[in-house]
């Protein structure tokens, strides 16, 4: 159970942005490409120099070690990156049920990353992220390269994680229908400001 709060967060020509997410909250974020959605997520994960502050359960980002912050407020980038030859080397521990939920067999951990498709890598990257048990999720188009069936599985897994852990989620999506399916609120980012969209 965690709350995430952005207070006057500003980065480059974005913001200042205020936003509050209660535990279990899922906010959909859309906006034209180049409007700064990814930049905003990067600032929340403290990967971009910014002004203003982000709080997790009332604790300011600047007051905890950067690696600790990023392992609690976890960002899933639009394009997944892999640095070891095999899939399994990137995981510490993994819930076998999750693998199954995304349509993988346990042998996937022995696969070579170079032989996985973009979609497989994207789903595995989500599992890699969730297996570190983050307290808040920042998702940058997590279903962009997936077929509808895989996308539905991913949506369901994130939904169950959010409910089980009480984790707030910011979900960047171009797909308005998806935003309405998964999110409790919907915001549009344009000219550096967040506006709540009427649903």
């Amino acid at each position: 159970m965690s709350q995430l709060r952005l207070a006057s967060l500003a980065v480059h020509n974005l913001g200042p942005i205020d936003l509050e997410l209660a535990a279990h909250d899922c906010v959909a974020l859309s906006g034209r490409s180049g409007s700064g959605k990814s930049l905003l997520l990067r600032a929340i994960a403290d990967l971009e120099p910014h002004t203003g502050e982000v709080f997790l359960d009332g604790v300011a980002c600047a007051s905890v070690a950067p690696w600790q912050w990023r392992s609690q407020v976890c960002l899933l980038p639009a394009e997944s990156q892999w640095w070891y030859p095999s899939v399994g080397e990137h995981f510490r521990q993994l819930d076998a049920g999750w693998l199954e939920q995304l349509g993988f067999e346990a042998e996937v951990l022995d696969w070579e990353v170079s032989r996985c498709s973009t979609g497989e890598r994207q789903r595995l990257a989500l599992l890699r992220l969730l297996s570190r048990r983050p307290l808040a999720l920042l998702l940058d188009e997590p279903t962009a390269n997936l077929d509808p069936e895989s996308a539905a599985r991913v949506e369901a897994l994130i939904e169950s994680y959010r409910r089980a852990e009480g984790a707030p989620v910011i979900w960047v999506s171009h797909d308005r229908a998806q935003g309405q399916r998964v999110a409790t609120r919907h915001y549009v980012l344009s000219t550096g400001q967040l506006r709540e969209a009427s649903s």
């Binding site: 403290d46 070690a65 990023r70 976890c74 960002l75 980038p77 990156q81 892999w82 640095w83 570190r132």
Partner: protein, 269 residues
């Protein structure tokens, strides 16, 4: 000592041969003739000048002059390290990082050798101090330049991977660990290879020079072994220091990857 003195005419013959090579390069349109002529001219002028400086220096053993000479050599090596990097750090870091690492490592090892092994009287006797430091800096420079160039290039190419690791909660040391280790290895490999091949594939330059100048081979060999060990130590520690400090400076106080601290390579470079 049966030293055969070279006359200006002897050097002129060598120069004419270089001109022949330049002419061939021109005919084959290799396009290196200009660089070749300039580099040869620089070799002649720079070495003759340094020869005269050394002559004066050797005749007056003076700590101040030796220190000044050492400072000039360090400054030149530092500049060389800087210009050899495509994506060097902006501002003073670009110059200071390599220079500082070479200073710490080369000077420490040179002093150690002068005091404990050679033991000349006084310890800063320029015949020993200056050539030893020159060999140290010349090789350390290569290691540091190679290591730093590799570090910044790899960090640039693999920035997405580094940031992905940060996003999963790795600290900056872990996130750049493999890149930094690889860069350090790249910096140290040439000198390790040189030691492994010494005497079998090639006769090292210093030893060759000593033998040509009439020194007994075994004496030349002993000095060569000493020199190779010391430059390996100097290169190794300088490369380790430069890459470690450089890797740290790629991140800010919040462990964000800050590639904006690197210069963009000149177009076409």
């Amino acid at each position: 000592m049966n030293l055969i003195t070279l006359t200006p005419l002897d050097l002129a013959v060598a120069a004419v041969l270089v001109v022949t090579l330049a002419a061939t390069s021109y005919r084959l349109r290799l396009g290196v003739e200009r660089d070749l002529i300039i580099a040869t001219a620089r070799t002649f002028i720079q070495l003759l000048l340094i020869g005269m400086v050394l002559k004066v220096l050797f005749e007056n053993t003076n700590l101040l002059w030796v220190s000044l000479m050492a400072a000039v050599m360090l400054a030149a090596a530092g500049r060389e390290v800087m210009v050899r990097q495509q994506r060097r750090f902006l501002g003073w870091w670009g110059y200071g990082l390599g220079t500082m690492s070479m200073f710490i490592s080369s000077f420490t090892v040179t002093l150690l050798v002068l005091f404990t092994i050679i033991g000349a009287e006084p310890w800063y006797t320029p015949q020993y101090a200056i050539p030893l430091l020159g060999m140290m800096l010349g090789n350390t420079m290569n290691g540091v330049a190679l290591g730093l160039d590799r570090l910044t290039q790899s960090a640039w190419q693999q920035r997405a991977v580094i940031e992905s690791r940060l996003m999963l909660g790795d600290d900056s040391n872990t996130a750049i660990g493999e890149i930094a280790r690889e860069a350090t290895r790249i910096g140290m490999i040439p000198i390790i290879n040189a030691m492994a091949a010494a005497g079998i594939v090639s006769l090292p330059g210093m030893m060759t020079g000593q033998i040509l100048a009439g020194a007994p081979p075994l004496e030349a060999v002993k000095y060569q072994i000493l020199i190779m060990c010391t430059i390996t130590i100097g290169t190794g520690f300088a490369t380790i220091a430069a890459v470690r400090i450089g890797a740290r400076h790629l991140f800010d106080e919040r462990q964000r990857l800050r590639l904006d601290r690197l210069r963009k390579p000149a177009p076409g470079a």
